[in-house]
């Protein structure tokens, strides 16, 4: 099947160009580009005039919850949410039940995604068995089955000696370690950022140091082992500073930030809306300013959502009792455009690179470009559409968003993955036969 995308402004993060041109897709690959293209035989034409055509967006931090927590999300619903949000690829974290610590589980996720998925799925394998932080998982086997990185996300490896060995091993396999940086002794029992707001609300705080001591540890270990380390969801000014300094010394470290951490502060917790309960917690205005600065100067390479769906009954409880996490796939583009591009923090090309080329490079996957011959993953973004977030319309099973009712500018108009249109005008195409 052929697909012609006409009249859009094409953003190429590799060349660093924005050019108005058409793109032709054939056989699931990018077949050509130029102006006023047309095809002889039957195919689909997408009118992208007035819109931006970008490589298919990649969210490198998503919780699909399957297997084990299907009430929260499944591979089917999570990838549909991805497609609706403009993401043609998602990278899923291994903290499912059971934890993804064997090749068989990687295969299960890949097979299910191939059969049901509305977007490509790249699984992350665990660092330790059961993410219990005791002994290494079979990382070589995980890689052979298709794992693109290793992480004990949400259950960070506390033992520095074990993490060091994991890095040595991961370096041998040439895969990155993704680290959720949290010292559990420092964060213990906390449910929001420690500061004035936690005091006023009477909630136990999580100090910035709980994140920063681990960022510092991972940087030191990365420097020593040469392993590529990717710092997940950076949330504090101190973490940004540590990563910046490490990069200047040539340490192989990369970092990501979530839309909620560059948009909201701990003030949002007032009212005890449990959709604001997230780990790492929403920080202060100066932290938000620092992560924006880190985005602008390249310290932070990637924007990823940490999409973490939960059921209504899990979240509709006392703040302390609610699980951490919020959904992000279906609001990311709007938040990036509203908070970063329109606000002048990033150019459209910089923003797109952080959602396409950069995560593809961190994970060493052949996506994130529109080069002829590559798999046809692309996203059409309407940067001028103003819309209001309505969680009830989410494809995700998780409705836990702090952005419900918020007015945003910029939305994905179409998502193409593997040459097939997966979403158009907000409607996800049903792929189940």
């Amino acid at each position: 099947m052929k697909l012609l995308i006409k009249g859009g402004t094409v953003l190429d993060p590799v060349a660093g160009e924005m050019v108005e041109k058409d793109i032709l897709v054939a056989g699931g690959k990018i077949a050509g580009e130029g102006s006023n293209l047309c095809f002889g035989d039957a195919g689909i034409v997408l009118d992208a005039s007035g819109k931006l055509v970008v490589p298919g967006l990649i969210d490198m931090h998503v919780h699909l919850r399957e297997p084990g927590y299907e009430a929260k999300e499944t591979i089917l619903t999570g990838t549909r949410a991805a497609a609706r949000g403009g993401f043609s690829s998602v990278v899923c974290m291994p903290n499912t039940s059971p934890v993804v610590d064997t090749a068989a589980l990687i295969s299960y996720i890949l097979n299910t995604a191939r059969e049901q998925g509305a977007a490509h799925v790249f699984p992350v394998g665990s660092i330790t068995r059961g993410s219990r932080g005791k002994e290494l998982a079979e990382m070589g086997d995980l890689k052979k089955a298709g794992a693109v990185a290793f992480s004990d996300d949400g259950m960070p490896v506390a033992n520095a000696g074990l993490m060091r060995r994991a890095m040595q091993y991961a370096r041998m396999l040439d895969l990155p370690i993704i680290s959720h940086c949290e010292d559990r002794e420092l964060s213990s029992g906390g449910s929001m950022h420690e500061g004035y707001m936690s005091t006023v609300l009477g909630l136990k705080g999580i100090p910035a140091s709980a994140e920063e001591v681990m960022v510092a540890r991972e940087i030191l270990l990365a420097g020593e082992t040469g392993c590529r380390v990717h710092i997940a969801h950076v949330s504090t000014a101190g973490s940004v500073r540590l990563v910046r300094e490490a990069k200047s010394r040539g340490i192989p470290v990369t970092a990501e930030v979530t839309p909620h951490h560059f948009t909201l502060t701990d003030e949002a917790v007032a009212g005890y809306n449990t959709s604001t309960k997230v780990n790492p917690p929403l920080r202060t205005a100066s932290d938000v300013a620092a992560v924006k600065e880190g985005l602008a100067d390249g310290t932070i390479d990637v924007i990823a959502t940490d999409h973490a769906p939960h059921t209504v009954e899990e979240k509709d409880v006392e703040y302390d009792r609610a699980p951490f996490g919020l959904v992000g796939l279906e609001t990311a583009v709007g938040l990036v455009w509203t908070e970063l591009v329109d606000a002048g923090v990033l150019t459209p090309l910089q923003a797109i690179a952080k959602m396409t080329l950069n995560p593809a490079r961190v994970l060493n996957i052949s996506r994130g470009t529109l080069n002829p011959g590559v798999d046809a993953d692309l996203t059409i973004i309407d940067p001028n559409l103003t819309w209001t977030v309505d969680a009830n319309l989410f494809e995700s099973r998780g409705k836990n968003t702090p952005f419900h009712g918020m007015k945003l500018k910029g939305q994905a108009y179409a998502t193409v993955a593997g040459g097939r249109v997966r979403m158009l005008g907000g409607a996800v195409k049903d792929l189940l036969r």
Binding site: E194, G195, Y196, M197, S198, T199, V200, L201, G202, L203, K204, G205, G271, Y272, E313, D316, V317, E318, Y319, D320, R321
Partner: protein, 313 residues
């Protein structure tokens, strides 16, 4: 004039005029308590439900007596004996109580924000009787009432609050209440039990209890909980008593006529010396009496026709 909200969750957002209204209303209520026949028909036919997820003798009894003196019907639910222990969520428990026709719910809960969650969920009025480390507004109101009654004013007074500020809902509500009414609030306690950023509330954080006590008109002593020591937050009760306990010697730093207050229950010999607790300056027992009066005032203002949203019976 009445209270602007349906619920009383905390004092952080309550304007000075409304605090004054509650204190003024509590005065005639106190007269009722001092009568031989302590019953007026103001809340006849109204139902007050107390829901306590934490053990509490004084607060719960105080609310129940306040409701009974005003002729309301009262029902008490204790978490351990109810469907709460069968895993029912706070929201479902609340909806059930609402559906049974309660007019007002008094909630004590170990988690911050529980009263606000309840208030959002149900139609009945909600009074927060303490939610985690967040607020305990009726305690602060009775403290304000007690001080005003004794001192004749609140404005310009120096109030020292000594102890575990970090975990204290009493301290937070009192900081909002006293600063709003024009008093000066000073805080002292172990550094590990001081709440981060609390100086932004307008209270002054002192480096020692001595600094906080200097010339204070009110000395408010907070209860220190043994479990905080077990959590490793301070070295031990013996040292705590030595460094932070309010004894007769320390009390001489305060104004000669300073009031000594404690929200109870007291750890005698730890945060407060027995002779101070029972001394001439102590108003601990009056606090308890005034607690009933202030709670009667709130019940009246919220569901007795004294509020803005209710027509007078």
């Amino acid at each position: 004039m009445g209270l602007s909200g349906k619920d009383v969750v905390g004092l952080r957002h309550v304007p000075a005029e409304e605090i004054k209204l509650v204190l003024d209303t509590a005065k005639p209520m106190k007269e009722i308590i001092q009568r031989q026949i302590k019953k007026v028909p103001i809340l006849r036919g109204r139902t007050v439900v107390t829901v306590f997820y934490e053990a509490s003798t004084r607060t719960r009894t105080s609310f129940e007596l306040a409701a009974k003196y005003l002729s309301a019907d009262t029902v008490g639910i204790a978490a351990a004996t109810s469907s709460v222990s069968k895993g029912e969520s706070l929201k479902d428990t609340a909806r059930t109580i609402d559906a049974m026709g309660a007019d007002l719910v008094v909630l004590r809960h170990p988690m911050a924000g529980a009263a606000e969650l309840l208030g959002r969920t149900i139609n009945a009025a909600v009074i927060n009787a303490g939610d985690g480390a967040h607020e305990h507004p009726t305690q602060a109101l009775l403290d304000l009432y007690t001080v005003k009654e004794k001192k004749g004013r609140l404005k310009g007074l120096k109030v020292a609050i000594i102890g575990d500020i970090l975990h204290s809902r009493v301290a937070r509500s009192n900081i909002w209440g006293f600063t709003r009414m024009g008093a000066e609030v000073r805080l002292a306690g172990p550094a590990t039990l001081m709440a981060p950023g609390i100086e932004r509330t307008g209270a002054e954080v002192c480096r020692s209890p001595e600094e906080a006590l200097e010339g204070a008109d009110v000395v408010m002593v907070l209860r220190i909980q043994l479990e905080r020591q077990q959590e490793g937050l301070f070295p031990g009760l013996r040292e705590y008593a030595r460094l932070f306990g309010i004894n007769r010697e320390r009390l001489t730093l305060a104004a000669r006529d300073a009031l000594v207050m404690h929200p109870g229950p007291m750890n005698r010999g730890i945060e407060i010396a027995p002779d101070v607790a029972d001394g001439l300056q102590s108003v601990v027992n009056e606090q308890v009496t005034n607690g009933v009066a202030v709670r009667m005032a709130l019940l009246y203002l919220l569901i007795g026709g004294g509020g803005s949203s209710e027509a007078a019976n």
